[in-house]
Symmetry: C2
Subunit: 170 residues, 2 copies
DNA sequence: TACAACCAGTTGCAATTTGCAAGCAGTCTG
DNA sequence: CAGACTGCTTGCAAATTGCAACTGGTTGTA
């Protein structure tokens, strides 16, 4: 069950936990896409993860303490997945990956806009977003709430680009 | 040759380039361990990469423009691998992974010390280290050189912990 | 109360990727 | 000229991935 670690290097250990092609995408969707149910993660992902892989990754992330699962009171079969503090703190890794990909890889416009805002916002914006995630996932109330949240701002920017694209296509 | 991308999301694209269990470890060894030759990367890595995997990863990193390869003038068969600017800018991702692993995973003392220093040093220290890497890999001279370099400081801290461990074992 | 749609997964199987060990041709060293 | 060293390559078994179909249950609707 517990496979032996290759080394005690922090980078290696992190890679052993989230160093595959899907785990961080699942976490990304939970963070930026508000996906909390199995079906949402399965069908609303841009990359099209298959159900067995998703089930396996969720199980591993659960075992690692990166997410939790609880029953949805509104539906007996639904489970709600939440990020733990440990999971929320993966955000800086995702933010850095996002910035690097935005700079060097062929990112589409609509998916790049979030990367740009997040990069321009810097660690301060990340911290604010992590506070919002703590509120949504761990139930920790945050203090100051002035203006739209980071999540809302990212979403609004994405919608705006999508709307522009749609109008161009007509 | 060019496999189709799953999506134009920057995080996904980054994961398609370095989102496997070995690529970032190779880059880590080039950055923090001064490994520049095939054999060095093969034998001096804590995790024990096998030669076919290493050859494949180096090839892919070359194709992606993250590293370059040139002949070693001192030995006709030796190649020297260098990080490109694009490769050097992976450092913040490694630094964040290092910090996360240090915080949440069972990191050994001697391998954790670098993580701690790098985390405490923050983005400013990362930028300084990246400048040192630019000098060593891309040949860009850096300006101010006051005191020991970040690379030297990390190495010295590591040696110190190792020395302590050795003396304890006697 | 029947029925379709939806829920979280599981199962079977083929294709790909990984990991180990051995091997290889050329190069340098004593 | 022998032996060690160079950057890889090859063969093969084991593990992982990905697709598609399927399961057993729940929920909303007529």
């Amino acid at each position: 069950m517990t496979e032996p670690e290759r080394s005690g290097c922090p980078i290696n250990l992190t890679l052993e936990v989230v160093g595959d092609k899907w785990s961080l995408l699942v976490i990304r969707d939970m963070m930026f896409g508000n996906r909390r149910h199995f079906r949402e993660l399965l069908t609303k992902s841009d990359e099209g993860i298959s159900s067995n892989i998703l089930a396996d990754r969720l199980k591993r992330l659960l075992e690692q303490g990166i997410i939790t699962r609880e029953d949805d009171p509104s539906h007996k079969q639904k489970g709600i997945y939440s990020l733990t503090e440990q999971g929320i703190e993966l955000l800086p890794i995702l933010a850095q990956m996002s910035a690097w990909g935005y700079k060097y890889l062929p990112v589409t416009e609509e998916l790049g806009i979030r990367a740009r805002l997040l990069s321009e916002g810097g660690p301060k914006m990340w911290a604010e977003f992590m506070d919002e995630l703590r509120e949504a996932h761990v139930g920790v109330k945050r203090r100051k709430k002035t203006g739209p949240s980071v999540g809302e701002r990212l979403q609004a920017a994405y919608q705006k680009v999508m709307a522009k694209k749609a109008s161009n296509r007509i």
